[in-house]
């Protein structure tokens, strides 16, 4: 029987933790089939009452979600989205249209609702503004909720009899906020990404979640036993008893390790031979900052600012920048917050601008610092926001995607202009704000000795450095096997960058994924890295591993690494060395 077959699916880990339990499938997909009935005049009022009732229930559901979110701090943005849903539910033109259709065409409420929703969809299609056009997603969330409550298939509240794992095609932020922690062990969805609103809410509820599974709702039957691993993104359907036992032990180990690490997370990371390594956190949304600090971050090594630019037609204002940075800088103080300037291309928020034509090769195109040096007004607005916020604590500026000297000099020139403007206006800012660059393009790594003279720090972005060095697109399934952090060329670029930085007396950090993987930590420390900046989940683990490392021993084996010819040889060598000297690191 197929339902008893073990089936393993890989998705995107959205919220850490492991859940073992039975599946409850929640059908959040569009209702394609709804009753279409012609009615008689006598029951017009009944249909209208029925529709009004559905509106009322829907409003209550959304209101409950808003209340529920209200008790979790830091997610006000998401409740504002829900409030606009509420206004749509009460929308007089929608309600009147349904009313009129029921009366004049003598059709049932579901049919009338569908017709009205289609009319709205059509009127949205003709909108030229891409941003507002995309808001049709909100109207369809709202339309679906109404239709469900009308048909009686209510998805908004989940009546679970026992603790279960929720499986759904997609969960709206409202659905996620309504998941009851006492009954829901975790959830898995077909849609979604690591940084979706849904993932962020799951994380703040501390509920294990795997998203982006694509076909989970097809592969899983109600009642199937599931193992949901929100750490790795793995979902096992109908696991064998030994697998369940294994994961039970893993859960226990995970929880006790997490507790132990959490307790120790805020202690400094000092190696066995007494060198302190600064471990910082990478930050995407300002709402996460307290959580990142709780996990032991000694500052923010990479504050991505792209979120400010996405989903909008016009670049953010100086105030938008200032507010977003000030709140983080204040929370992180007395530690430092490293703010990276815009790292995407203009296509992300200039969708309606015609002069930006589609690039054949966006990864090698007009983006990040290149875009900023072209659109200097957008760049200056961001720099003004950063500088003004720097007054409220300790901040650094970091330029991404630097390929050569001219870009640094030009960027610094613009920064200087902005500083002078602010001084003239009498606006306070940190006049000594450190300026650094990402080392993520091979050309920059190769001339790091020259670049080091112009900046206050380097931060190695390994994800792009590896992709550009090896000329592989990690998202391409045919070549991603070539993505190899231990490739001898990558190690040489990293070593050269660190040595070049140190010879000029500047600190070298690493903020790519490599910084957050324990297996690489001994190598990076041996190479002399000063700062590791990792994702929130890796923070306590990296700090703990550092405490077990003896750097002088690592350095002595590092030289040997550069005689090795392949990534596999490097890996095997490191593995052997660790097994000999620090077996608990690789276990």
């Amino acid at each position: 029987m197929s339902s008893e077959q073990i089936h393993i699916m890989q998705g995107i880990p959205a919220s850490a933790g492991i859940a073992i339990g039975h599946a409850v499938i929640i059908d959040t997909r569009k209702i394609e089939r709804y009753p279409k009935i012609r009615i008689t005049e006598e029951i017009i009022e009944d249909e209208i009452t029925r529709f009004d009732k559905a509106v009322e229930i829907s409003c209550t559901q959304v209101n409950n979600a808003i209340k529920k979110l209200g008790s979790h701090t830091g997610i006000r943005e998401h409740s504002l989205i829900l409030e606009s849903h509420l206004m749509m539910l009460k929308d007089p033109s929608l309600l009147e249209r349904v009313n009129t259709l029921i009366r004049s065409r003598l059709i049932n409420a579901e049919w009338a609702l569908k017709v009205s929703l289609q009319e709205i969809e059509i009127s949205f299609e003709s909108i030229e503004d891409e941003y507002i056009k995309s808001r049709v997603a909100d109207t369809s969330f709202v339309g679906e909720r109404l239709m469900r409550n009308l048909v009686g298939k209510e998805a908004g509240s989940f009546h679970l009899h026992e603790k279960s794992i929720v499986v759904a095609h997609d969960l709206s932020p409202a659905d996620t906020a309504m998941l009851n922690k006492d009954k829901v062990l975790g959830f898995a969805t077909d849609m979604g990404g690591r940084t979706s609103h849904t993932a962020i809410i799951a994380h703040s509820l501390e509920m294990p979640a795997v998203v982006g599974l694509e076909k989970a709702t097809l592969a899983i039957n109600p009642g199937d036993r599931l193992i949901l691993d929100g750490i790795t993104g793995t979902l096992i359907i109908n696991p064998s008893d030994p697998q369940v036992e294994e994961y039970r032990q893993r859960t226990e180990a995970y929880l006790s390790l997490e507790n132990r690490l959490r307790e120790r997370a805020k202690l400094p990371a000092i190696t066995k031979d007494n060198k302190t390594i600064k471990v910082k956190g990478n930050l995407e949304f300002k709402e996460e900052v307290n959580s990142v600090l709780e996990h032991g971050a000694e500052g923010i090594g990479l504050y991505r600012t792209e979120f400010l630019y996405l989903n909008r037609r016009i670049p953010p204002s100086e105030e938008d920048h200032f507010e977003a940075y000030k709140s983080v800088i204040e929370a992180v103080s007395p530690f430092n917050t490293t703010i990276r300037t815009l790292d995407v291309g203009g296509d992300k928020f200039h969708a309606s601008r015609k002069e930006i034509t589609k690039e054949a090769n966006p990864a090698l195109g007009l983006r990040a610092i290149r875009f900023c040096l072209k659109e200097t007004q957008i760049f200056k607005t961001q720099l003004r926001g950063i500088l003004r916020a720097s007054h409220y604590g300790r901040a650094s500026i970091m330029f991404p995607m630097i390929s050569g000297m001219e870009e640094i000099l030009r960027a610094k020139e613009i920064l200087e202009e902005v500083k002078q403007e602010l001084s003239k206006e009498g606006i306070p800012f940190d006049k000594e704000i450190p300026v650094g660059i990402m080392i993520e393009i091979p050309s920059a790594a190769i001339i790091a000795d020259l670049l080091a003279k112009e900046v206050d720090f380097f931060s190695i972005g390994t994800n792009d450095l590896i992709q550009y060095s090896l000329a592989i697109d990690r998202g391409n399934e045919y070549v991603n096997y070539l993505y190899e952090p231990l490739h001898p060329s990558v190690l040489r670029l990293i070593k050269h960058t660190i040595d070049a930085g140190h010879s000029q007396g500047i600190e070298v950090a690493m903020c790519g994924e490599m910084a957050g993987r324990e297996i690489y930590t001994p190598i990076l420390l041996g190479l002399g890295i000063d700062i590791l900046s990792t994702n929130i989940f890796a923070l306590p683990h990296i700090k703990e591993i550092i405490r077990k490392i003896n750097i002088s021993k690592c350095s002595s084996i590092i030289d040997h690494l550069f005689y090795l010819k392949t990534a596999k040889e490097v890996y095997d060598f490191m593995h052997n060395e660790l097994e000999k000297h620090a077996p608990d690191i690789i276990r």
Partner: protein
Amino acid sequence: MIKNELGLHARAAAMFAKKASGFSSNIRVTKDHTPVDAKSIMELLTIAAARGSKITISANGMDEKEAIRSLVSLVNNGFGEDK
């Protein structure tokens, strides 16, 4: 004139419609000769008023003056987005 960065987007439209719904008057918003119901967030969204676009607000009813005054000030203050 719409002053906030994003134009009359979902959140601003929600605020606008919410405020308009508080008045008994019949209120309409016109952009490019297309009038829509000021109390309907969906209709407001369909006129897609981007930053810098001009809209006309008209009201008819008991509290028409107060309605226009309060909606105009909401728009002029950029929906409270820009301080």
